[in-house]
Amino acid sequence: MRPVITFLTDFGPAAPAVCRGVMFGISPDANVIDINHQVPRYSIRSGSRSLAFALQYMPVGVHVAVVDPGVGTERLPVGLKVDRGDVLIGPDNGLLMAAADTLGGVVEARVLENRELMLPVVTSSFHGRDLFSPIAAHLANGVPFERVGPTTSIDDLVRLPEIRPTVGEGVLDTSIVSILIFGNVTLAGTPDDLSAAIGELEPGRSLVIDFPAFDGAGPIQERTIWERTFGRVPVGSSLLMSDSEGQLSLADNQGDAARRLGLALDRPARIRAA
């Protein structure tokens, strides 16, 4: 069976091809699955979420992720073996950990140090090409994981602080944790968090979401309803729902809620019953 390498970066449309070229040069039969190369630039958190949602659906394989504003600094390049049998490759900046958790957690962590498995010249600004891609391809070919470099403590791996909503008296205080391709706005928390704050979520229940002034933008109030899916509200109307990952999501039916409201990542939000 062809070995699987998945690949996620914030590189945009062009640079990933060079990395795929490096991988195919070492592992010509690999099935390289591009997960996403449009991660917002330098947003480790966005990349981490995208990777965590995707990897659970991927075949067992080697997963390369590069959102790496610290490239060339002292941040370590790491390989993480997880319980499901996959190996995750990338910078030790928190990018890989949420995905590793969805695959059963890290069972072995190694620092990528073996120069024999890298390109002959390793630049200080493009480790995706020079270091991560060739090592991933060698692992896909069956090179034992121990060959990449020495083990490092799992407890010392960098983790992103988790963003959790706060359940208050009749309100849920949350914030925008991602904005997806259709303009759907993901808010921290689940329907359980919201019902803990405001009671049972019946389809059709009216809600108010307040986005206080933030980063130069004035306050916004959005009146919406709780519904199960887009087509339950008229075209152009908004709904709050549980998205395909079980997260709270504000969306417009056949529209772009983020653009309509001018919302951006990290903006706080307060949800209450209307």
């Binding site: 062809r2 699955i33 449009q38 949602f53 995707a54 991927m58 075949p59 391709i181 199960r228 395909s244």
Partner: protein
């Protein structure tokens, strides 16, 4: 021997959603060859998706074709698998998306509603059936699962149909409408070059001039030559041509967007007549 073909068309965009679906398919059918037709279909535009799919499937080998442009996801619209006379299976929502392609492949031989939850992912969301239902079902079908296993047969006559506009040949004029705006802003029009010949008389000789009129075009219409290639007119000038990508008539502006220039969108009606 090459693995089975699964073609894949959506309005999901370039980010991770199509990749997640490919991952799901490969976990079930590791040898499948997955051919991404497009994931940049205009969002929610079932008609655009239906048209593009219908123009592409004829060039593909027999296989499973998954298409998802599905503004009604999670509502009462049925998920279906449709066998075409050629032997292909089309998988997607019952909203008309699959029907023009099925006609290209000889018509609908059998249709089944997809209800067998044992073929789905363990957790089915109400907003991402592409991942949770259509991808796994398509991969099982590509691996040889009999079509009957996806769910009960339904009368093909009950499938939601979608007819693409056609050119109407009138005395001296071709009445047409915009089928699709492509990424260059070129407008693919209903009808074939032959229809233009039949309605206006005379061959389509490069340089022959036509008047194109429509509600969004200034009164009196615009004078447009028939040409074989964009570069046959100066940059910024319009032309009528035979569109190679999608087959049929097209109107374009060399190195610019005809859609912007002439205010064209899906279904915009246009009239084309010869200039004596």
């Amino acid at each position: 021997m090459a693995g089975p073909l699964i073609s894949f068309l959506t309005d999901f965009g370039p980010e991770s959603a199509p990749a997640v679906c490919r991952g799901v398919m490969w976990r079930i059918a590791p040898e499948a060859r997955i051919l991404d037709l497009s994931h940049t279909v205009r969002k929610f535009a079932v008609r655009d998706g239906a048209f593009l799919l219908s123009r592409m499937v004829g060039y593909l080998e027999v296989g499973v074709h998954v298409a998802v442009v599905d503004p009604g996801v999670g509502t009462a619209r049925r998920p279906v698998a449709v066998r075409a006379e050629r032997g292909d299976v089309l998988v997607g929502p019952d909203n008309g998306l699959l029907m023009p392609a099925a006609r290209v492949l000889g018509g609908v031989a059998a249709a089944h509603e997809i209800t067998s939850t044992d073929l789905f992912l363990a957790r089915v969301s109400s907003t991402f059936h592409g991942r949770d239902i259509f991808s796994p079902v398509a991969a099982h079908l590509a691996s040889g699962l009999p079509l009957e296993r996806v769910g009960p047969a339904v009368d093909p006559a009950t499938l939601v149909d979608l007819m693409l506009p056609e050119g109407r040949v009138r005395e001296g004029v071709l009445e047409t409408a915009v089928l699709l705006i492509d990424s260059f802003g070129n407008a693919r029009l209903a009808g074939q070059p032959d229809d233009l010949v039949r309605s206006t008389g005379g061959a389509l000789i490069p340089g022959r001039r036509f008047r194109v009129t429509g509600a969004s075009i200034p009164a009196g219409g615009v004078d447009v030559p028939w040409q074989s290639a964009f570069g046959e007119v100066a940059a910024g000038e319009p032309l009528l041509y035979e569109d190679a990508d999608y087959g049929g008539l097209g109107i374009a502006v060399n190195q610019a967007s005809a859609a912007e220039r002439f205010g064209l969108g899906s279904d915009t009606p246009l009239r084309i007549e010869a200039i004596a």
